[in-house]
C-alpha cells in the first residue's frame, strides 16, 4: 500500500501523521462522551465525527485529483465565497452552546451546517499566497504591503465583527507567517506588528514608553519613508489611547477571560473555573493517566467543554504525560513535514500555501493546548483533528489534501535538514 501511494506521489508520512491524529482525536471524542451524566447526549458524538471524517476523506481525495494550478485558480472564487458567507453570518448567524453570543454558525432551516470562519481561513491562505506570489520583489516598505494586508483585513474584520477573537488571532498568525515566508524582513514585520504591541502594552505606561523608545530606534536604523514612519507613530499613539476604550467595549466574559489569563486566581469560581478544572484534570493524569475513558474530572463533568475546547485536557487526564507526548509528537511531526513540503514546493504559491496552513494549525495548537494549561487566554478555538466539529475537521482535511497535492508536485530536492 505505501509503495502504491508513493508511486502516485503521495507524501506517506504526512498522510500517516494526519490520519493518526484524526483517529486519536475521534477516540478522544468517544471518551469525552463517556460520562456519568444521566443523559447520554454526548455519548454518540464520536459516530458523527467519524462520519464527518469519512466525508472529509472523500473531499480530500477529490481535491488531490486536481492540481496546484486548479487550486490557485480556485483561490479567488473561494475567497469571495467565504467572505460572502462571513457577511451573511453577521445577519443570519446563530450561536452555539457556550459561545451562544458569538453568531458564528450558519444554519439553514434551523440545522447548523458549519462555521464559515473555518473555510475563510483556508480561502484567505490561498488568496494571500496568490497575491504574495504574484510579486517579484520582497517589499521594503509597509506601504507596499497594502494588497496582502487588505486580503487578510477583510475576513479578519468580519470575524472580529462576530466577536470571535480566537479566529481573529489565527488570521494574524497566518498573515505574519506568510509575510515572513514571502521574505518580508524582520524590521518591516516588527513595524507592522507595532500597533498591536502598543495596544497590549498600553495598559502599562512604563512598558508602553519603553516600546516607543525601541520603535524609535528601529526607525532610525531602518529609515522608512517619512509618511510611513509618521503613520506608524500615529498608529502606535492612537492604539495606546484607544486601548482602554476598546477594553470597555469587550464583553464581560471576554474581559474575564483576559483577566483570568493575567491572574488565574482571579474569581476562580466563575471565570477561572474552566482553566482550573482543566489543570486539575491534566495534572491528576500523571505519567500514564487514569486510563482511557476513566478520567474522573471528565466523567463527573468537572471538566467543561470536554468535546471541543478542552478535549486535550481529557488526553492529559486519561492518558497522562505519555499520551500528551504522543499527541504533541504527532503534531510536531506533521508540522515539520509541512515545512518540508513548503521548502520543496516547485513554486512560490504552493510554498506559501503550505506555510499558511502550517501557521493556522500552529496558532490553533498553541492557543488551544496553551489554554488547557492556563498558558493562553481562553479564546475557545478548537484543536485540529481532535475537537468535535464537522466543518473544522473538513477544512483540516482539505488542508491536508492541498498539502499532499503540493507535495506531489514538489521538487524532489532534499532540503537542508534532510527531512
Amino acid at each position: 500500500m505505501p509503495t502504491i501511494l508513493k508511486r502516485q506521489g503521495i507524501d506517506v508520512p504526512l498522510l500517516l501523521f494526519a490520519l493518526l491524529l484524526t483517529v486519536y482525536g475521534i477516540a478522544m471524542v468517544f471518551s469525552a462522551g463517556q460520562t456519568d451524566a444521566v443523559s447520554g447526549a454526548y455519548a454518540t458524538l464520536w459516530q458523527r465525527q467519524l462520519g464527518f471524517f469519512l466525508v472529509a476523506l472523500c473531499l480530500a481525495y477529490a481535491i488531490m485529483q486536481g492540481s496546484v494550478r486548479l487550486i490557485e485558480w480556485a483561490a479567488w472564487p473561494l475567497y469571495l465565497f467565504s467572505c460572502g458567507l462571513l457577511v451573511l453570518v453577521l445577519f443570519v448567524g446563530t450561536g452555539a452552546g457556550t459561545a451562544a453570543s458569538m453568531k458564528s454558525w450558519l444554519s439553514i432551516g434551523g440545522y447548523r451546517i458549519g462555521q464559515p470562519a473555518e473555510l475563510a481561513k483556508l480561502a484567505t491562505i490561498l488568496m494571500l499566497a496568490r497575491v504574495l506570489a504574484a510579486r517579484r520583489e520582497s517589499p521594503r516598505a509597509l506601504l507596499e504591503l497594502w494588497q496582502p494586508l487588505l486580503v487578510v483585513a477583510v475576513p479578519w474584520l468580519l470575524v472580529l465583527a462576530q466577536k470571535d477573537v480566537g479566529t481573529a488571532i489565527v488570521f494574524i498568525g497566518i498573515c505574519f507567517v506568510m509575510l515572513f515566508w514571502a521574505g518580508v524582513s524582520w524590521p518591516v514585520l516588527l513595524m507592522l506588528a507595532s500597533p498591536g504591541i502598543s495596544l497590549l502594552l498600553a495598559f502599562s505606561t512604563g512598558a508602553w514608553g519603553a516600546w516607543f523608545l525601541l520603535l524609535g530606534a528601529l526607525m532610525l536604523w531602518y529609515r522608512p519613508y517619512l509618511l510611513e514612519g509618521a503613520t506608524l507613530m500615529l498608529a502606535n499613539v492612537s492604539m495606546g489611547i484607544i486601548a482602554p476604550i476598546l477594553w470597555e467595549r469587550l464583553n464581560p466574559y471576554q474581559q474575564n477571560r483576559l483577566l483570568v489569563f493575567l491572574d488565574p486566581s482571579y474569581d476562580p469560581l466563575k471565570a477561572g473555573w474552566n482553566v482550573f478544572q482543566s489543570k486539575v484534570a491534566i495534572g491528576s493524569g500523571g505519567l500514564v493517566g487514569n486510563g482511557f475513558t476513566l478520567g474522573s474530572q471528565k466523567r463527573l463533568q468537572f471538566l467543561p467543554e470536554r468535546h471541543t475546547d478542552f478535549i486535550f485536557s481529557v488526553v492529559g487526564e486519561e492518558l497522562g504525560f505519555i499520551g500528551v507526548s504522543i499527541a504533541l509528537t504527532l503534531f510536531l511531526a506533521l508540522f515539520l513535514r509541512t515545512t518540508r513540503v513548503a521548502s520543496r514546493a516547485n513554486d512560490a504559491f504552493p510554498s506559501l500555501v503550505a506555510m499558511g496552513i502550517l501557521a493556522a494549525w500552529m496558532v490553533h495548537v498553541i492557543v488551544n493546548i496553551g489554554m488547557t494549561l492556563g498558558l493562553m487566554p481562553v479564546t475557545g478555538i478548537p484543536l485540529p483533528f481532535f475537537s468535535n466539529g464537522g466543518s473544522f475537521l473538513m477544512v483540516s482535511w482539505m488542508s491536508v489534501a492541498v498539502l499532499l497535492r503540493i507535495s506531489a508536485e514538489g521538487r524532489g530536492l532534499p532540503d537542508g535538514l534532510g527531512l
Partner: protein, 586 residues
C-alpha cells in the same frame, strides 16, 4: 518575492526552530503539571469528586457494679442528603415530603444543619423509623444525594429508674458548639446532654467513622460504595459504675407513682454511689435525640415536678437527722459526753424568749445524750445548742461540710444552704431582726439549714465509719475520703450505739429488719403550709456498715415512714450481696 532555494532553506530552518521551540515549551509545561505537580492535582481531583459521609460511632456501654447494662445502643437509621446549595436542598426536601411526611420544623432543621456545615450531608431524620426507610429505599433512584445509614441510638433498659443520674444524649446544639470543650465536635453529632452522659462525655463518645461517596460537578451522588475504603466507627470501652441496678429499680418500685422524694445509697467505705433516685421519675428514653414538645410539656405541667432532681438539687430542712451534727460539735468541743444530761429535763417544751416545743408533747424526762438521740428529744438539743453557742454551731456546721457540695461526679449538684458565719443573720434579717434563739432551731436541723439527700448521706458515711466522709462517686473506684469527725473512738462508738438504738427501740423501731442490725436517724421536717417531710439517714449492718441510705419523702409525715423504706433497701442490698459476686472495674 524572494524564493531562491537558499533563502527558502534559511527561512525553513527558522520556521523549524520556532516550531520545535514551541513544542519543547509545551512538552515542558505538561511535564511540570503532570509529573512534577501531579500529587497536588491528584489531591484536588479527589477533593472535587469525593464527599465524606460521617458514620456515627456508638457510645460506650454503661454497666452497673454487677455487669448489668444501664445504657446501651440500639440499631437505628439516619437519613441525610448531599446538596450543593440551600435552594437545591429545599427543593429536594419538598420532593421528599411527597413520599414521606417531613414537617416544616424538620425541613428548617435540615436547612440549618446544612448551613452550619455545608460539606457534610444535611441530616433530615436523625432517627428514622423503619417505615420511612423502606419508603425511601423504594424511590431512592430519584434522589441521587440521599444517604441512608445506620446510626446507633442510645437506649436505657431501665430508663425510668435511672432518670435521676443517667441523663440522655442528643444532637449538639449551636450554643454547645461554641463552648471550648466541644471544639472538636461538628454539627449533627451526638453529645451527652445531662447526668452521667454529660459528665463522662469524653469517655463515652464514640469515634466517628467515614464513608466516601463520589459526586459529579453538580454535587449529585454518582457512586456510593467502593469509592474508597470506609473507615469504621469505633465504640469506646464500656464505662463501669458503682451503681447497683437492682437497688435502683427497687427504689423506683418502692416509691411507685404516688410518693415524692429522693433516695441516695452510698458505700460508706468508698463513697461509691449504689443508688440515686428521685421520685416521681420519667422516661428518659423519650429524651434521647430530642424530646417531643408534648411529652416535655406534660412533665413540666406535672404537679409532682418529675424533672426536679430531688436527690441532687432538692434542698430540704434535714430536721432531726441533723441532730447528730449538733451532737458531734458538742462532743468535739468537750461540752458533753454520751452520758451527759442537760440542766432542764424534757417536759415537752422549753422556754427561751418564747416556748420551743419538743415533738413529743408529753416530754422525754431527764435523758442522756445517747437517749436523746434515740428518742430524738428536741428539748435536750435546744439546751445543747445553747451550750455550744451560735457562732460555734455555725462554724462547726461549716467544718462538717454542710455548706459545700459533695462533688459527686454528676453535673448540676446544688449547693446546700448553711450560714457561713453570724454575719449571715445580720445580712439576712438585719442586725436587730434576729436573736440568739435561732441556735435552738439550728440545733434540731431547722431554720436556715437545707440539705440535699446526697449531702446528708455523705455526712453519715463519716458516722458509719471511722469519722471520714467519703465523696460520692458513681464511676471512680478509688475512695476519696476526708476525716471530718474529730472524735475519740469511744465518742464515735457511743454515737454509733445511739444510732443503732434508734432502730432497735427508738423512733424507727417499726422499721427493724429481722437478722440485720441497722443504725440511723429519723427526721420529721416542718414544711408549712404542707405536711411534714419525712427523713431517714442510716446505715447497715451497724457493726460493719457497707451501705448508707439517705431518704427523704416529701410530705411523708414522719421519719419512721422514711425509715421503713430505707431499711427495706438496706435489706435488699445486703441480702442480694450474699448471693451475687461483684464485678470490678478494669
Amino acid at each position: 518575492m524572494s524564493f531562491h532555494p537558499n533563502e527558502v532553506l534559511r527561512r525553513a530552518r527558522v520556521a523549524r526552530g520556532v516550531v520545535m521551540a514551541v513544542f519543547v515549551a509545551l512538552g515542558g509545561a505538561f511535564f511540570r503539571t503532570q509529573v512534577l505537580q501531579n500529587a497536588e492535582y491528584v489531591l484536588q481531583s479527589e477533593k472535587n469528586r469525593l464527599r465524606e459521609v460521617p458514620l456515627p460511632g456508638a457510645r460506650g456501654i454503661i454497666y452497673d457494679r454487677k455487669g448489668e447494662i444501664i445504657a446501651e445502643n440500639l440499631p437505628g437509621y439516619q437519613v441525610s442528603i448531599i446538596s450543593p446549595t440551600v435552594d437545591s436542598l429545599r427543593s429536594a426536601l419538598v420532593a421528599l415530603s411527597r413520599i414521606v411526611p417531613i414537617d416544616s420544623t424538620q425541613q428548617e432543621q435540615a436547612v440549618s444543619r446544612f448551613r452550619r456545615s455545608p460539606k457534610r450531608p444535611a441530616v433530615i431524620f436523625p432517627d428514622a423509623s423503619f417505615e420511612v426507610i423502606s419508603m425511601l429505599e423504594e424511590r431512592r433512584v430519584e434522589f441521587p444525594g440521599l444517604i441512608i445509614q445506620s446510626s446507633p441510638k442510645r437506649y436505657y433498659p431501665d430508663a425510668v429508674a435511672m432518670a435521676a443520674l443517667i441523663g440522655y444524649t442528643g444532637e449538639i446544639s449551636p450554643e454547645e458548639l461554641l463552648l471550648p470543650q466541644y471544639s472538636d465536635y461538628k454539627p449533627g453529632q451526638e453529645v451527652g446532654k445531662a447526668g452521667l452522659e454529660k459528665q463522662y462525655e469524653v469517655k463515652l463518645r464514640g469515634t466517628e467513622g467515614r464513608r466516601f461517596v463520589e459526586v459529579d460537578a453538580r454535587n449529585r451522588v454518582v457512586r456510593d460504595n467502593g469509592v474508597r475504603a470506609d473507615e469504621a466507627p469505633e465504640a469506646p470501652p464500656p464505662l463501669r459504675t458503682n451503681l447497683d441496678l437492682d437497688l435502683q429499680k427497687y427504689a423506683h418500685e418502692y416509691f411507685g407513682d404516688s410518693l415524692r422524694g429522693a433516695v441516695v445509697a452510698l458505700d460508706p467505705r468508698t463513697g461509691g454511689v449504689l443508688a440515686l433516685y428521685s421520685a416521681p421519675s420519667y422516661d428518659v428514653n423519650r429524651f434521647v435525640g430530642g424530646v417531643s414538645g408534648k411529652y416535655f410539656k406534660s412533665l413540666l405541667d406535672d404537679p409532682g415536678k418529675p424533672l426536679y432532681n430531688r436527690a441532687l438539687q432538692g434542698t430540704y430542712a434535714p430536721a432531726s437527722t441533723w441532730k447528730l451534727a449538733t451532737a458531734v460539735i458538742g462532743l468535739q468541743r468537750g461540752l458533753v459526753t454520751m452520758d451527759s444530761r442537760m440542766p432542764q429535763p424534757c417536759s415537752g417544751a422549753f422556754y427561751y424568749g418564747r416556748v420551743f416545743k419538743c415533738w413529743n408533747h408529753s416530754g422525754h424526762g431527764d435523758v442522756t445524750l445517747a437517749q436523746a438521740i434515740a428518742k430524738s428529744c428536741d428539748v435536750y438539743f435546744y439546751q445543747l445548742g445553747l451550750k455550744i453557742g451560735l457562732a460555734n454551731l455555725v462554724a462547726g456546721g461549716v467544718k462538717l461540710g454542710f455548706k459545700d457540695r459533695t462533688n459527686i461526679d454528676l453535673p448540676n449538684e446544688r449547693r446546700p444552704a448553711w450560714p457561713e458565719s453570724i454575719d449571715y443573720f445580720n445580712k439576712r434579717y438585719g442586725p436587730r431582726g434576729w436573736n440568739q434563739s435561732v441556735v435552738l432551731s439550728l440545733a434540731i436541723g431547722q431554720a436556715d439549714n437545707s440539705q440535699t439527700p446526697l449531702n446528708m448521706a455523705r455526712f453519715y458515711t463519716a458516722l458509719a465509719t471511722d469519722g471520714a466522709a467519703a465523696t460520692p462517686q458513681i464511676v471512680a473506684q478509688t475512695p476519696a475520703r476526708a476525716q471530718i469527725l474529730n472524735l475519740t473512738t469511744e465518742q464515735l462508738q457511743g454515737l454509733q450505739l445511739a444510732l443503732a438504738d434508734v432502730v432497735s427501740r427508738g423512733t424507727a423501731a417499726g422499721a427493724q429488719i429481722q437478722g440485720l442490725t441497722i443504725a440511723g436517724k429519723t427526721g420529721t421536717a416542718q414544711n408549712p403550709p404542707h405536711p411534714d417531710n419525712a427523713w431517714f439517714v442510716g446505715y447497715a449492718p451497724a457493726n460493719n456498715p457497707t451501705i448508707v441510705v439517705a431518704i427523704m419523702i416529701e410530705e411523708g409525715l414522719h421519719g419512721s415512714a422514711a425509715a421503713r423504706v430505707a431499711t427495706k433497701m438496706m435489706e435488699r442490698y445486703l441480702k442480694a450481696k450474699l448471693t451475687l459476686t461483684t464485678v470490678t472495674n478494669d
